[in-house]
Structure formats: structure tokens, C-alpha cells
């Protein structure tokens, strides 16, 4: 499922809303999650999962092809942990 398919499904179920507004709703949701993560916040959606940001120290890496050493800057990695309910549903305990 892509973002546009998600928008399409929502549009079919909500004929009283403009497609334009549904697009804004979907964009707002994912945008807000991204904005919170950019501020280093956690996003907790019970039953679905939680997004968080993990910090990685700078390190000396290697180009696997040439073997040359390269320094890798410290960075932040977005992380998702599946919620209990969704995990159970994925494994057939709906």
C-alpha cells in the first residue's frame, strides 16, 4: 500500500470530505511524527507502535570495496518498535 492508495481508501470511506483535505490529513499525520522525531521526541501510538530516535557515536568505518578508512559522523537513527497488539495481530491473534 502506498500513501496515495491509503488516501484513496480513506476517500472512498469518507465521501463527505474533499480528497484535498484527506491528502492534508494523511500528510499532517506523518509530518507531525517526523517533526517530533526531528526534535528528539518519542512518538507513542498504543496498539500500533512507538517511534524513537537513537544516537550513534562517530566512528571510523571502512569502505568495504576499497578498504579505505573513512570517518563516519555521529548521527541519529529513527527506530520503530512494533506495538504489542499489532505484533499479536501479525501473528494471527486478531
Amino acid at each position: 500500500m502506498t500513501k496515495s492508495e491509503l488516501i484513496q481508501q480513506l476517500a472512498e470511506e469518507n465521501p463527505h470530505l474533499y480528497q484535498r483535505d484527506i491528502e492534508r490529513i494523511v500528510s499532517t499525520i506523518f509530518n507531525e511524527i517526523g517533526a517530533a522525531l526531528a526534535e528528539g521526541k518519542r512518538v507513542e501510538l498504543r496498539g500500533f507502535g512507538a517511534f524513537s530516535v537513537k544516537e550513534r557515536e562517530s566512528r571510523v568505518g571502512r569502505n568495504p570495496r576499497t578498504g579505505a578508512t573513512v570517518s563516519v559522523d555521529a548521527k541519529r537513527i529513527p527506530f520503530f518498535k512494533t506495538g504489542k497488539q499489532l505484533r499479536e495481530r501479525l501473528n494471527g491473534a486478531d
Binding site: F30, A38, L90
Partner: protein, 105 residues
């Protein structure tokens, strides 16, 4: 918690502010989005949200685990796990402010 954690209520509020539907309907739409994403994944279908990231389901095989407390060997049954891959747009967004701060310090 509080200001450091975003929840469904914050997402509903953002939708309410952005689109001007009722608070109730905003909350229902947030729920509906999460439910549609979940349902696609439960059916084994990957979900791709452009400029955010993608979710996919992976099948894990059985392996032998160990109870860390007792050292007892226990089989970990085959199961499905959800993996999230952030898009480059999201990764960059998360790192922009951070790397500027690092360079300044």
C-alpha cells in the same frame, strides 16, 4: 512523557488545527489511518509512505533461545516481525538540527 512524547491526541489535535474538522472526526481519521496501515501489514502487504518511510513484514524462522535468568534453552517459534525503514527525507530531517548542534559544540 508530556512534552517529550507525541501521542494520538497530539496527532488528532494537529489534524484538527490543519483541516478544521471536528475534534471527534479528526481523532477518528487518525485512528482510521493507523488501522488501514495495520490491516495492510497484517495481510502481509508492505506499506510505503513517501518522504516518511516504509513498513514491511518479515518471516523469522524458529531458533533456540535461552532464558537469560535460568540459562534454560527454549525454542523461539517462527513468527512475523514488522520492520520500519525510514526514508532519506526523514533521516535527513532528523539529522539536520543534530549535526549543526554537534559542529557548534
Amino acid at each position: 512523557m508530556g512534552d517529550q512524547t507525541l501521542t494520538r491526541a497530539d496527532l488528532s489535535e494537529a489534524v484538527y488545527q490543519e483541516v478544521g474538522l471536528s475534534r471527534n472526526e479528526s481523532a477518528e481519521l487518525v485512528e482510521s489511518v493507523l488501522e488501514k496501515v495495520s490491516r495492510a501489514l497484517v495481510q502481509g502487504e508492505p506499506v510505503k509512505i513517501s518522504s516518511f518511510g516504509s513498513f514491511a513484514v518479515r518471516q523469522k524462522g524458529e531458533r533456540i533461545g535461552r532464558n537469560p535468568k535460568t540459562g534454560e534453552e527454549v525454542p523461539i517459534l517462527p513468527r512475523k516481525v514488522l520492520v520500519f525503514r525510514a526514508s532519506h527525507v526523514l533521516k535527513n530531517r532528523i539529522n539536520n538540527g543534530f549535526q549543526d548542534a554537534e559542529e557548534a559544540s
